[in-house]
């Protein structure tokens, strides 16, 4: 199970990559392993306002449905069309090609996010 050092994480098993005022969001390797084969992602559409810690979509797998939470406040700018075509990319490459949506943020440091080390600890407990 991989937990890249250069990302931040939520307790609900999303990762976020922050580059200035642009944040990219996906689900973690731990999450995709727990879910099994992802069959459909309902991500928030471009233009949607999202709030950190609030559910903004769903990830469906064969056996379950999980809420997708936004790690940051802002407005959705882009949704990954590849995931729509091929939901399995979320399992195959959760931190790369399996990204889910991008958010334009205000640029301030978001609070409540976990470091890779803290997220690794969290996954050991679950």
């Amino acid at each position: 199970m991989t937990v890249p050092d250069d990302l931040r994480y939520t307790q609900e098993h999303e990762w976020v990559a922050i580059d200035g005022t642009s944040a990219t969001v996906g689900i973690t390797d731990h999450a995709q392993q727990a879910l099994g084969d992802v069959v459909f992602v309902s991500a928030p559409a471009p233009g949607t306002k999202v709030t950190a810690g609030e559910p903004c979509g769903e990830v469906e797998s064969t056996k379950s449905v999980s809420d997708l939470y936004s790690p940051v406040d802002g407005e959705v700018t882009e949704v990954n069309g590849e995931v729509d075509e091929n939901p399995g990319v979320v399992n195959a490459d959760p931190y790369g090609a399996g990204w889910l949506f991008k958010v334009a943020t205000s640029g301030g440091a978001p609070s409540g996010l976990l470091s890779a080390a803290d997220y690794t600890e969290l996954t050991k407990e679950t």
């Binding site: 099994g36 084969d37 069959v39 459909f40 309902s42 469906e60 064969t62 056996k63 449905v65 399992n91």
Partner: protein
């Protein structure tokens, strides 16, 4: 009901699942492999090559003695006395009100020896009912679950993979036949039965023989594409084949007729049997609900318990729903009110059926069951 505090029971293949890195789950009190890698890949392997399954959680109840056949004719809705030795039949055990206690496969091993295979969750209840119904000294009912492991090999290549490993002449083993045989030198009861809609075999072994039999089949089958498959794939495979699952399509408030399985009720058999009067009435009555197949048009998945809507109003309930790897669309079985089932046209015509998926109406089309039939 399993005590949630008691530990899950490992099967005789627990070490194999650990070695393979299976994701395990609790099921009816047993620790079972849910999947090994990808349940979609496992499903597709069974459809195109072969899969090997641990089904040791299933219950095995032996009914023996000169009155065993008569006892089973009374206890079950079918007619096991009409089976020739070496033959098996899908059947059910019902309550006096006609409600289903379990669905079963009964294997006639000899004139006076029957193996009744029950669902894991119902084994204790089935055993208790059989013991109570098989009164008299000439029929013995014994729960032999602990004496068996069960390995299924399912898929179009299953026969080819097993042939070099077994003493049985698989070309002579008809569908729903069972024989004592050996596999990889170990004694098994070999049956041409399964729950996937593909050709395949179920191997009843001694617990200590399960691991060597599994390993022999897995290594012999790997070049042909055989992979281990877990309960998640088992569920999507049986759903595509429209095979019912107890707890979903079948239950104590469902009769075999409701589930479209009235054929298992042998009202013509001379013996009286438990549930006869209620089932005879039900056979003549208009159905209160009909089990149908539905295919979703969107990609959201209908799930057990979700409403089915017709023109926006509830007309039924999903019993089982999942993505279908073979169809590439979500599929579901559902009980609908009879008028909704009959007037909604198959494959996209009229009547506007939809799944209520967490508050959103997702259109669906009625289809004839099964969703998938293996090529012949």
């Amino acid at each position: 009901m399993t005590d949630p505090q008691s530990p899950l029971r490992p099967t005789p293949l627990a070490a194999v699942h650990e070695r393979l890195g299976a994701k395990l789950t609790g099921f009816a009190g047993w620790l079972m492999p849910l999947r090994y890698r990808s349940e979609t890949a496992e499903h597709q392997a069974v459809r195109t090559a072969a899969g090997i399954f641990d089904l040791s959680h299933m219950g095995e109840i032996m009914v023996t003695g000169p009155d065993a056949a008569a006892a089973l004719d009374y206890a079950l809705v079918g007619q096991p006395s009409a089976l020739a030795p070496g033959r098996a039949r899908y059947t059910m055990i019902c309550a006096p009100d006609g409600g289903i206690i379990d669905d079963l496969i009964v294997y006639r091993l000899a004139a006076d020896e029957f193996l009744v295979v029950a669902n894991a969750a119902n084994t204790a209840a089935v055993f208790a009912e059989l013991a109570e119904r098989a009164t008299g000294p000439n029929a013995d009912v014994t729960d032999r679950t602990a004496d068996y492991a069960l390995i299924a090999v399912q898929g179009p290549r299953a026969a080819r993979i097993l042939t070099p490993l077994t003493s049985a002449d698989l070309g002579e083993v008809r569908y729903y036949a069972s024989y004592p045989a050996t596999v990889a030198g170990h004694d098994v009861l070999l049956a041409r039965t399964g729950y996937t809609g593909e050709d395949g075999f179920e191997l009843f072994t001694r617990p200590d023989d399960a691991e060597p039999v599994w390993d022999a089949v897995a290594s012999a089958g790997a070049p042909d594409g055989l992979i281990p498959a877990g309960l998640a794939a088992r569920d999507t495979l049986r759903l595509e084949a429209a095979m019912p699952l107890y707890g979903n399509e079948l239950g104590p408030d469902v009769t075999p007729f409701d589930a479209g399985l009235g054929r298992v009720v042998k009202l013509g058999k001379p013996a009286d049997f438990v549930g006869r009067a209620a089932l005879a009435r039900r056979a003549e009555a208009a159905p209160e609900r009909v089990l149908v197949g539905l295919v979703g048009r969107s990609r959201r998945i209908p799930r057990h318990g979700y409403e089915v809507l017709r023109g926006g109003s509830p007309c039924g309930t999903v019993t089982s729903g999942a993505p279908s790897p073979t169809l590439g669309k979500p599929i579901a079985m559902a009980y609908l009110k009879p008028d909704a089932a009959s007037t909604a046209e198959p494959d996209g015509g009229g009547a506007g059926l939809a799944f209520n998926i967490r508050g959103s109406a997702e259109p669906a089309d009625l289809v004839q069951l099964p969703f998938y039939r293996r090529p012949t």
